[in-house]
Amino acid sequence: MAAHLKALTALIAVLLVLPPEGGSYIQSAKRIISLVPAVTEMLYAIGAGDRVVAVSSYDQYPSQVKALPKVGALIDPNVERILSLKPDLVVIYGSQDDLRTQLARAGLGVFDYRHAGLADVTTTIRALGERTGDAAQARTLAGEIEAGLRAVRTRVQGKPRPRTLLVFGRERLALRGLYASGGVGFLNDMLEAAGGTNVFADVKLQAVQASTEQIIARRPEVILEVRATNSAFPSGDRDAELNVWKTLGSVPAVRNGRVQFVFDDRIVIPGPRVVAGTEALARTLHPDAFK
């Protein structure tokens, strides 16, 4: 009986010491690891950059991250490395369930992130600011991004909205294995904010494998091939890469010479630079609006 009582007392003591639900106990994060490039950019933009101690193997921006340790990424996070760097907050992708469990077992704070729409960029920035103790700066940044996106929308308001196929991957020198933005996600939202209409707006997926038949049947007026860097199509190959579209002569974009490459990492990373990315798309779709 006495043993039971002791155990019960111990349990109550533990419960009293444990912080309440809701996370209000979280102080500002001092050592942050980000496994998501978009969130890494957000951390730097809200002024938490000096507390980032490691990033993912895909991180390139801002340039400070190049000097930081790389601790794997989506499919290959190096848990041992992460733990040895003694972080108090780890940003992970929402699907990394095993990693989340391991980090929770180690008692580390976790910030869950998933790619979603354009509106989620600013929502994420605000939530991130709350977590890292940079709420005020995060709110300011989010407000600026929202204002910037409004400005782009205003620029292209009233312009005819071309039916656009937004391609973000395919085989070299062939129209095979072609992936385009579906009707949800940040690429679709950026295209829409930039004054275009997505030809795959009705497909509620972030990525669509676009068959030849669908491309011809949907008759896009503009085809934008977006890639993060211009090394996707080395300059010597660009004419040949444009030429592969020539076979689909009935597609208005092909007939009117409106197949365009846009090499810009700000378009494919849904971070704080989305305004610049959206503007880059808008400039391509509506050059006259920016004269």
């Binding site: 070299r172 997926l205 049947a217 080395p234």
Partner: protein, 333 residues
């Protein structure tokens, strides 16, 4: 019934099936096409979306399905006869994983070299399959006079595992988007969007099919066992060599067109044997024709069932093939 009559009857029946699939295949699709406009010669081809859908999207795709289906099915028959193992498939000896390694390298490292109007991925896939064939053959030859099918099988299965490991290793260097595209390639895709891949594979296809025609009788003899075949005057080693190389080339060509589409090479031969008996002189042509019809039909399902989204054709063949394979396994006496 004489062999000639049975041959004629089977080829007509299965040929009609293949012809029907090839004619009907392009008529079906996820979008509506006005067929009067398809053949309307008064509009230039480049301004005629209906004609472009029919002649650029659907027809080459249907022909690719027919070619790949015929090659996989016939190669399956030959491999099963050569290895005297009913569970052999065109992928058993590592040819397709060799091709996969080539394709994954081309996708991951963004190769742009093309040959004969082909893009890098099919070229690299075909080269990869040739490399696999050469290695497996060299291994099977190394310590035997002639060709040991046991060593061939062991070497093939081992190389299969080795190439799979290499594919995963290369994947490690790929970006997330490339990983996704690789995975998609491995599930098979017949949307070739031009006739170029078919023309490029034509010489290999013709050579392989001609070899298959010659192989029908030797495979019948081989099914009695190499010793009996030898005593009936068959040059076993050269027959095995022809079988190995022609079926491997056929597999390599088919994989370079459509990716490693599974199960065609095993379901079709077995279904055909159930219908027409074990004589290779009939099983081989019937399997090729039925394979063509089968894969064209599977691809029609793949591109329409969830339109406008496409399912990988390999998923359809696997959904039909998996249960069939199990049934085959347990019904075997």
């Amino acid at each position: 019934m004489s062999l000639k009559a049975r041959f004629a009857k089977t080829v007509v029946a299965f040929g009609a099936m293949a012809a029907a699939a090839i004619v009907l295949g392009p008529l079906v699709g996820p979008t509506t096409v006005d067929f009067r406009r398809v053949f309307d010669m008064s509009t230039p081809f480049a301004d005629n979306p209906d004609a472009q859908i029919f002649f650029i999207a659907r027809l080459p795709r249907t022909l690719a399905g027919a070619t790949v289906g015929a090659l996989f099915a016939a190669a399956g028959v030959v491999f099963q006869g050569l290895l005297r193992n009913p569970l052999a498939t065109p992928f058993t000896l590592g040819v397709s994983t060799g091709a996969a390694l080539g394709a994954v390298l081309a996708i991951t490292f963004n190769w742009s070299i093309g040959i004969a109007g082909l893009s890098a991925v099919p070229v690299a896939a075909f080269a990869g399959s040739l490399m696999a064939v050469a290695i497996v053959y060299a291994l099977a030859q190394a310590r035997h006079r002639g060709l040991s099918t046991t060593v061939l099988l062991l070497a093939g299965v081992t190389m299969n595992a080795f190439f799979s490991a290499m594919v995963l290793f290369v994947q490690y260097f790929a970006s997330f988007a490339d990983t996704y595209r690789t995975l998609r390639w491995l599930m098979g895709d017949l949307d070739v969007s031009s006739y170029q891949p078919l023309l490029a594979a034509l010489p290999t296809t013709v050579v392989a099919l001609a070899a298959f025609a010659w192989l029908a009788r030797p495979l019948n003899l081989l099914s009695l066992g190499p010793d009996s075949a030898e005593s009936r005057g068959l040059d076993v080693t050269s027959a095995q060599r022809v079988a190995f190389f022609s079926a491997s080339l056929a597999t390599g060509a088919a994989v370079s067109i459509g990716g490693p589409i599974g199960f065609v090479g095993i379901i079709v031969p077995h279904l055909v044997r159930l219908l027409v008996g074990p004589d290779h002189r009939i099983v081989l042509p019937a399997s090729a024709l039925f394979g063509a019809a089968f894969l064209v039909a599977c691809d029609v399902v793949a591109r329409t069932i969830m339109a406008p989204v496409e399912l990988p054709v390999g998923i359809i063949t696997a959904l039909i093939g998996g249960p069939f394979f199990l049934w085959l396994l347990i019904s075997k006496r």
